[in-house]
């Protein structure tokens, strides 16, 4: 009898511990409550503000504006990076305390929308037409799942190609006529590659910016042939164009660039002179704190064009958590995030392009020639397009299996067939 009582008490204590761990921090819902009366904590996960002093100061301005509408609500930021975004999301869901506002990137929306982790923004009047009108139409496919919009673009992360004029002239090439097709790039890159007496590459002819995986570069090169990676969630790379693209990458690695090459600062190698030509992200600091005006003057920017002129564009996309108990407040916070002044600040912090209608005239675009170039080229935007719902799994699969094909460990045709089969 006494043993039974003891066990019951122990079980009750355990239940208390477990239940308090699971749900003790969840607020009461504020949806439908007047903003001035709403209380609670808005949990925000975002990689858009670096956790530096400047990043925190800019975020504090957004919170201050939000608090003018929701004065009694606290905002709890989680300054994630794209590297740990999934861990943060999954562990928050598992812990039963999901974020209210989540900023993710291209390729995240469909998987999370399919799992009903993101809320349909249609409830707040956001439609593809609204995005076309106020934001970047190029990011609509990345924010759409099953015909509904689940994310609002904040900034575009655009990539271009850059060449060093001096290196081109030195190799007898005309920097005013940049190579744009895959075949032209390979020919030029081979001429631009420098080697030491032992044959080791001392300056790469072309930086594929693929030290951590070939997924994005494969997507970019394939798209330049007019072939998007996915169409309507179905694979579109297990074909001749896909194979040719993969074989082209394979022919470049350890020929014009050593596999895995990147510098300590993880900056584009063409900026540092470690490559004569290569993929660059959407901004450059021409001041003496950055690469310097001399280097900037030596750079020429262009886009890939193997039949279609393209610019790879990723971006930051803001969503509302479907399990949020503060959805109205979350939407109000996203509205603060998408104010032009905030978007300009985010763009500056991350060297990205603000996702508003006239991005070419944004302060970030005006601040440096590369940002201006990619902002002007947003009409050529491509990315992974309409990815399947298991894209989060496929991202890793692409990186691993494309690398295996490039390094000659697996047959490229079989790799593409396998990846197509794994896409669901």
């Amino acid at each position: 009898m006494r043993r039974g009582v003891g066990l019951t008490l122990l079980a009750a204590a355990l239940s208390l511990v477990v239940s308090s761990c699971g749900s003790g921090v969840i607020d009461k819902s504020t949806d439908g409550v007047p903003p001035a009366e709403a209380t609670g904590t808005l949990r925000v996960l975002l990689p858009s503000f670096p956790p530096s002093t400047t990043g925190r100061e800019e975020f504090a301005k957004v919170v201050a504006d939000f608090n003018k509408v929701y004065p009694k609500m606290k905002v709890e930021p989680d300054f994630a990076t794209y590297k740990n975004l999934n861990e943060k999301l999954s562990t928050s869901i598992a812990a039963g305390i999901p974020y209210d506002v989540m900023v993710t990137g291209v390729g995240w929306v469909q998987p999370f929308a399919s799992k009903r982790i993101f809320a349909d923004l249609g409830d707040y009047g956001v439609t593809p037409d609204v995005i076309k009108e106020k934001s970047l139409g190029a990011l609509i496919p990345a924010a759409t799942y099953d015909g509904k919009l689940y994310a609002y673009p904040l900034v575009a992360d655009a990539r271009a190609v850059a060449l060093r004029k001096s290196a081109f002239r030195e190799a007898g090439l005309d920097p005013d006529k940049p190579p744009t097709s895959l075949a032209e790039i390979k020919t030029a890159a081979e001429k631009l590659t420098k080697r030491d007496a032992d044959g080791n590459i001392t300056r790469s002819g072309f930086d594929l910016a693929s030290a951590t995986g070939f997924r994005q570069s494969f997507t970019t090169f394939l798209a330049s042939t007019g072939t998007p990676l996915y169409v309507g969630g179905e694979p579109n790379f297990n074909n001749q164009q896909g194979l040719d693209t993969l074989l082209w990458i394979k022919s470049m690695i350890n020929n014009v660039q050593p596999y895995g090459q990147q510098n300590a600062a993880q900056q584009p190698l063409v900026f540092s002179g470690e490559a004569a030509m290569g993929i660059v992200n959407g901004g450059i600091d021409c001041s003496e704190k950055g690469v310097g005006q001399k280097v900037c003057d030596d750079l020429e920017f262009f886009r890939f064009d193997s039949g279609k002129e393209i610019e790879y564009v990723g971006g930051d996309l803001a969503s509302i958590g479907s399990r949020s108990r503060h959805k109205d407040a979350a939407w109000a916070f996203i509205q603060e995030l998408t104010k032009p002044t905030t978007l300009d600040a985010i763009a500056k912090l991350n060297k990205k392009i603000p996702a508003y209608k006239d991005a070419s005239n944004s302060p970030q675009a005006k601040s440096n020639p590369l940002s201006q170039f990619v902002a002007d080229g947003l009409v050529y935007a491509v990315n992974e397009n309409e990815v399947p719902s298991n894209w989060l799994e496929m991202r890793g699969n692409f990186d691993i299996q494309l690398t295996q094909a490039v390094l000659g460990q697996k047959d490229p045709a079989k790799v593409l067939a396998n990846l197509a089969g794994q896409s669901r």
């Binding site: 982790i117 895995g260 991202r395 691993i400």
Partner: protein, 312 residues
Amino acid sequence: MSTTLERPALESPRTVAPGKDSRTLVKSQVRAGWALLAPALLHSGIFIVIPVIAVLVLSLTDYSFGDTWAWVGFSNYTDLFRDVDFHASLWHTVLYAIVVIPISMAIALAIAIGLNQKIRGLGFFRTAFYIPTVTATVAVATIWLWIYNPGSGLANGFLSLFGFAPNRWLADPATALPSLMVVGIWQGLGTKVIIYLAALQGVSRDLLESAQLDGANRWQRFVNVTWPAIGPVQFFVLITSIVGTFQVFDLVYVMTQGGPGSETRVLVMDIYQNAFQDLKLGYASAETVIMMVVIAVFILVGRLLQKADVND
């Protein structure tokens, strides 16, 4: 002058029967035992038993952090047997364990024997060998990343003195895993050395002196006296090493992220990838169960080898 203190007589003699008295004593001892065990049991229950049960249950579901989930029976397990990434991860982990454990144990024992001698600077050497153990793996990995840097790293710089061509240690599929093994061996030495050192200092001096008087040389004394005496410690080091090497993750995560391709992808890395990057928690749980079974098999083999050694 002295005073004799006498035990005062009990006011009323105990009337409890001797048998009942001992039963009461045993009961109170049992209660005290359970009371002392309770915190540890509670801790184990919450942080070991419940998670293990949760993993077993989750491994039979397709849970992926979404709103819905379903029982899938053993399909996660059958899928794992067709999963090439899992096969690669398992193989790399087993290979890592097979190489790292014996080499690190042998080196650690050799160092411990050296440190068990009366040499100058003993304290310095003991500290030096233990430092890698107390240093954060991320710091260790960062230093080794520099050592392995193909352009300006110490490894290539040193080898170039002997005319060797630079190697792309972590970027070359042929050298990436062996490079990690070297770091794993180096990092794990400290703990093993300390344990071996304690064991060596516990070896009976009488037995060693007797063997010496019987004419045994150093090697014979080591094989016939020291080695059997440190047997239980060997087993302890072996078990902790098996568990440690199978759980290797942080080193791989910081240094290679499992690459190039999947050449350094290990089991915990694959579990992490499936659970927190691909959001397949059910699948990752099945993988965890298999990892537990594999570790258990390795420990069993180690135990059998230990028994065989003792019987010899």
